[in-house]
């Protein structure tokens, strides 16, 4: 039989416009370019994770790709019980390493740092806003990077741009506690806007679409949105004009990479880190707002990118 890659989504489902979908795109790309076959299983509740992984065991899958932090425990349990089955998990890693699991993780804070720097430079009110879906590391790492980037801007320029909604020290901030309510996305953005923020970073998957809708109503001169995961200029085409930029995680690229490794028998347990240096994370173009970003700021950003890749700028302070 052909090489088969199987994917288990988290409760967001395969068409979540976010990381499940992007990861599945990696499988589809591999289907097209490498001639493999792909299958997926959607989880409807947290209790499905283990059952879903279970039903893919039994040899029909050459690699099982699980998506998301929330599947971490279930993937670990299945991997340990089935040492001959290869697994890869998107957005998660294990310490210590499990020999038959390859974790795909992303140094999102690198790109978020750039976004924070950019936003601080573009903001007119000097106030930025951020909120998250659930208080988990893969979400808060965006928020960390964003805040630190703004702080770095303040340090460079002697400004006092503030970021509402997240404190990287205490790990406390604004969370919708879900990844699906567009209403919440709207309401949280409204509240941040009321407090003076003119650029908001929603780190909550589709919830952010609600924030984008608000920005559209208010007008982009009053409120701009920074997208996450994919370049939302392309996936939220209806509201594309509200996005200043997006912090992208190229999960399709890493998933495809993992499939290729497995086919070539170069699969090894451990971690595959997507970073600015290998293109696993990035800052999307400014598209319609290109004109708003002064050339000097663009140059500073280029310098920061280099600095982060070189290691001369530490994004985690």
């Amino acid at each position: 039989a052909a090489f088969t890659a199987c994917q288990v989504t988290d409760t967001g489902g395969i068409d979540d416009n976010s990381f499940n979908q992007t990861a599945w795109k990696g499988v589809l790309d591999a289907q097209e370019q490498l001639g493999i076959s792909g299958r997926f299983l959607e989880s409807q509740a947290e209790t499905d994770y283990e059952a879903n992984i279970n039903s893919l065991l039994g040899g029909q899958c050459d690699i099982i790709i699980t998506v998301g932090f929330l599947l971490g425990d279930a993937t670990k349990a299945a991997a340990e019980a089935n040492p001959d089955q290869r697994f890869s998990i998107v957005d998660y890693s294990y310490e210590p390493v499990i020999p038959n699991v390859l974790g795909q993780i992303y140094a999102t804070d690198e790109a978020a740092f750039m976004a924070g720097y950019l936003a601080a430079g573009v903001s007119e009110t000097g106030i930025l806003g951020v909120f998250g879906g659930i208080n988990i590391p893969t979400v808060t790492v965006f928020m960390d990077g964003f805040v630190r980037g703004a702080e770095y801007y303040n340090a460079q320029h002697g400004t006092a741009v503030s970021v509402l909604g997240w404190n990287p020290e205490t790990k406390e901030g604004l969370f919708t506690n879900n990844f699906d309510s567009l209403d919440d996305g709207r309401a949280f953005a409204q509240n941040l806007y009321d407090e003076g923020a003119d650029i908001v970073l929603p780190v909550a998957g589709p919830v952010g679409l609600g924030s984008a809708a608000l920005a559209d109503e208010l007008g982009v001169e009053k409120l701009k949105i920074v997208g996450v995961d994919a370049d939302l200029y392309y996936t939220d085409t209806e509201k594309q004009h509200v996005y200043l930029t997006s912090i992208t995680k190229q999960m399709d690229a890493t998933v495809m990479q993992v499939i290729e490794n497995t086919m070539n028998d170069t699969f090894e347990g451990g971690n595959l880190v997507g970073s600015l240096s290998n293109g696993g994370v990035d800052l999307a173009p400014f598209h319609d707002m290109d004109a708003l970003v002064p050339d000097s700021l663009k140059q500073e950003l280029a310098g920061i990118r280099q600095g982060i890749i070189d290691g001369t700028i530490a994004v985690d302070r």
Partner: protein
């Protein structure tokens, strides 16, 4: 009674008594107060300081009724709840526990959206009313399936409507992926937008473009009046109530239970469908999978809290709307966690639902109960 009561005396209407005033005014006020106190204690227990508690309650008030924007948000949140709640109340009165409002909201909303963009060429005076009608029909038809099965096969309406709910989620996903419905150029489930002529116009954008309150509130008020009339003034409503109270007596009086069940479910579904249409035509402008947002389930509480009376449902819906709008403000102004806010909201509702609890806790406020059953 020793001597014969005269006809006039017999036919004399009742005055609203003291106890009704207590039930309708005093009890809710004290219930809210009691819930707030309990909420404050909960917050204290979780280390929220007093100043924050004060600030959060001010925010709750300000965010629900303290500004034009707050009122607008309260009304916007209340409208679909009242509409769907009226539908459920109608069902309850007819003895039907329609748990399927959520699915009917979805079907109504889908019908309204699809009609709205499919007949975009119609003149505006027709397009909006017909889109709303499509919504009502969508909900009514979907609910009648359960009504018909209940009437002909005796299957329990609760299980039928639960199952129809889960079918509806899938049906929406499916409809939203049809080329004729899906927004062009999109791969995810989202419908085309309805033309402006099909939208429920916003009412106060001339004051502030952010005020979301829209013409749906007239729909809501009209629905309250119509349902009041139907339930208490019309023949149909009399039949609904009779078969809800005592189906056997209704049968003996020549009412046809099967027809009544189907009619009551259809009417109930029509209102839920209107609630869905109100959301897509008034708030969202298009349909996505989650647009029902639990309205159909919250409406169960709204209907029960309003004691299945149209005016009660209106008040209960406004309360829920106010709690939603005010809760949002609490989170922003005082940084109280959404968890605590939800708990306080639920407490308020429990206290209002349990008037005797209020009477028991604060007996001195009320006149002594008389002639209570032993």
């Amino acid at each position: 009674m020793t001597d014969r009561t005269t006809t006039e005396k017999l036919a004399r209407g009742r005055l609203i008594g003291r106890s009704e005033f207590e039930d309708l005014v005093l009890v809710p006020i004290i219930a809210v107060a009691a819930a707030l106190i309990l909420g404050a204690l909960t917050m204290l227990a979780t280390n929220v300081d007093l100043a924050t508690i004060g600030r959060s309650y001010v925010a709750l008030l300000v965010g629900s009724v303290g500004s034009l924007n707050a009122l607008s948000e309260t009304l916007t949140a209340a409208t679909p709840l009242v509409l769907a709640g009226l539908g459920l109340a109608l069902g309850f009165r007819a003895g039907l526990f329609n748990i399927g409002a959520e699915g009917q909201v979805l079907m109504g909303g889908m019908a309204a959206v699809i009609f709205g963009f499919s007949f975009a060429a119609l003149p505006a005076v027709l397009l909006l009313p017909l889109s709303l009608l499509a919504g009502a029909l969508g909900g009514a038809l979907y609910a009648s399936v359960a009504g018909w099965l209940r009437a002909t096969t005796g299957a329990h309406e609760v299980i039928l409507t639960i199952m129809l709910n889960s079918i509806s989620y899938r049906l929406v996903d499916f409809l939203l992926s049809l080329p004729a419905v899906q927004k062009t150029g999109r791969a995810d489930p989202i419908s085309k937008s309805v033309p402006e002529a099909a939208e429920l116009p916003r009412l106060l954008t001339w004051i502030d473009p952010n005020l979301r309150v829209h013409a749906g509130i007239f729909l809501m008020l009209a629905a309250v009046a119509v349902i009041f009339w139907v339930l208490f003034r019309s023949k149909l409503g009399f039949e609904f109530r009779a078969s809800g109270e005592n189906p056997e007596a209704a049968r003996f009086a020549g009412m046809r239970s099967g027809v009544i069940i189907v009619a009551a479910m259809a009417a109930s579904g029509a209102l839920a469908g209107l609630a869905g249409a109100n959301q897509v035509l008034g708030v969202l402008g298009r349909a996505t999978p989650g647009f029902s947002a639990g309205i159909g389930f919250t409406a169960i509480s709204v209907a029960l809290l309003g004691r299945s009376h149209p005016v009660g449902v209106l008040l209960a819906g406004l309360l829920f709307g106010a709690l939603e709008a005010g809760g949002r403000q609490m989170q922003v102004d005082a940084g109280v966690s959404i968890d605590l806010i939800s708990i306080i909201q639920a407490l308020i509702i429990v206290f209002i639902a349990a008037p005797l609890l209020v009477r028991a806790i604060f007996p001195w406020v009320f006149r002594r109960a008389q002639g209570a059953k032993g």
